[in-house]
Symmetry: C2
Subunit: 357 residues, 2 copies
């Protein structure tokens, strides 16, 4: 496929802040955007050329995406796989629906990663009370998570030892679960990588991530990990991209162990919160990189001109915006959400400083 | 006036690329935008929340701006002054309509500048053939320009000596003209400065500008002028901002003479093409700076993290886009215009390099 011509329309499934930043990046490259999102006046639609207000799997809406778009992408990983697969028979869908299948189910995801030779926490599927008791004994505690539809720490419970299994499976709603072993990690990092239509690969420097209440709080670059660890993060991300015949940007989260080795925590088949710093500290942001990849353009330069710390504004944190705007060397980004509910990502900011490493 | 709350709507009169980049910057600060522009699906409206498709002085459209907007700005200087003045009685208009009056007429503009103690080329108003012959003798040649509505070198003729005056006034359409003396300038620079609602002032580093066929071709930063010259550019821009009780970003163009002294060429009461580099080389772009100023937010940091050269893509130059995207350290920006007519600004790009000065 040749590169999309300027003026072509890119479909975006999902209307949140990631779609908003993708729409802005697409516009800067001369493309139009059409957002599919049931919530009217969503953050993405405020910047996109047009929005289809409909469910993600609405057949008429999908037919409209096929008619209007030269390529379709998505900004969250819980897009219905059937919808993405059906779309993909009529219009290029990037990243490929296979990436959704892998990332939507934590068991499938870990099996996929292990099959690529990438280490993860130990894990066991949990489909009953008896499964859970056995798994908890086998892994001597662990983090119990829903296999599907989890994000920002929702649907997770930690067990420090093998006790307390009774009734938990039912209390979690009787849905398929996974128990992951407790990992004695020293820190968490992530890497934002991309693969182009021409099989080219690119990665940004890894970021050191700090979570609070299961939600990303900050990402710092440089991450301070050893060069060998950073290189492993890079090659791991590239292995994932190649195994999935992926086109677009991926976010890969890792646990860093005391010896510098890495366990993959999870894959996000999309632009990622821990890559927002690229907009402030690089010439080509992760959003532009994704649009370049799916449009068949050359991947962009991932070099960083500054060190930086990105911090999320969650809920009422957004009230800090006016004070933050008075700080030199700070880039603020708000998402156009009218209501600051607790736990809701309202914006982020990035503090820049001269490059040290 | 306190700062605009997130979610407030900013009105933008004019729908070109400057409005487009203002709309993107406003969104990043959490504001909504409403564009008034007769051309449907204009570059600005593609990123704005909404467009009113109507003439710039349409009474119903202006009433709608008053109802919807917390502040109204403009992206070109030929907004009808009567419309801006009438708007300003009902809603804050920034920059003030007085800035439009000054910049719309080259004679008024130069008289205003001289009154502030700022030097310009010598000039004489030309309202008849006789005026022109006398002016041409007095200034020993010069550049004959329309007093109003000129841009990108349109409506200009150069006379190297005092001859050839006959019939020219009528040939230029019988409209009010100005003859400006030929200035033996060594180079052209411009400065992008801003004034906030709190009277604070800020300026970016001046850019060295090269024009081709009367249209800006490139802007280079650092400009290479002596520090004293840069400081004069800065204080001149600040004097203009204060004299006009201005709020927002202004672009001021200067001729640099052999001794380093400056003549003001013209004032653009808006974000300016020669400031597009700020998006690539600064944390706060001129577009964000303008939105900050008119929204009553603190002015942003004008520090530059890189050296840079911005180049316009005029007409078919836009065909270079795919090749440019393959260059490391380059930021491309296209304007969403479907037709690449000769002389039409289709986009620009900025090449970045490590900061040297």
């Amino acid at each position: 496929m040749t590169a999309l011509a300027a003026g072509a329309t890119i479909g975006i499934i999902g209307g949140g802040q990631l779609g908003r930043m993708l729409a802005a990046a697409a516009a800067r490259l001369g493309y139009r955007t059409l957002v599919l999102e049931p919530q009217p006046d969503c953050p993405a639609a405020q910047l996109a050329n047009r929005q289809i207000v409909a469910a993600y799997d609405d057949p008429e809406a999908l037919a409209e995406l096929v008619r209007e778009c030269a390529v379709v992408t998505y900004e969250f990983e819980n897009v219905p796989v059937a919808a993405a697969t059906s779309l993909a028979s009529d219009v290029p869908v990037c990243p490929p629906p296979a990436a959704l299948e892998v990332s939507q189910d934590r068991v499938i995801e870990k099996r996929f990663l292990n099959a690529q030779g990438l280490s993860t926490a130990e894990f066991l599927p949990v489909d009953s009370d008896a499964d859970f008791a056995a798994a908890l004994r086998s892994l001597r505690g662990g983090v119990l998570k829903t296999r599907r539809m989890g994000y920002d720490g929702k649907g997770q419970r930690v067990f420090r030892d093998a006790g307390g299994a009774d009734g938990v499976y039912a209390a979690m709603g009787g849905v398929p679960l996974i128990l992951e072993s407790l990992v004695p990690f020293e820190r968490e990092i992530s890497i934002i990588a991309a693969r182009g239509r021409d099989d080219s690969l690119a990665a940004y420097d890894p970021a050191l991530n700090v979570h609070r209440d299961g939600i990303l709080h900050s990402s710092t670059v440089p991450s301070g990990v050893a060069p060998a660890t950073a290189e492993t993060a890079r090659t791991s991300a590239f292995a994932i991209l190649e195994a999935l015949d992926y086109v677009g940007v991926v976010g890969v989260e890792f646990f860093v162990l005391a010896d510098g080795s890495l366990l993959v925590n999870e894959i996000a088949p999309r632009v990622h919160n821990s890559g927002h710093w690229t907009e402030a500290a690089c010439t080509v942001s992760q959003f532009e990189q994704h649009i370049r990849a799916i449009a068949g353009l050359p991947l962009g330069d991932t070099a960083r001109h500054s060190d930086c710390v990105m911090e999320n504004l969650i809920g009422d944190d957004v009230l800090r915006a006016p004070a933050l705007l008075a700080e030199p060397g700070l880039m603020l980004h708000l998402y156009g959400k009218s209501e600051a509910r607790p736990g809701r990502k309202m914006g982020h900011f990035t503090r820049l400083s001269p490059r040290t490493a």
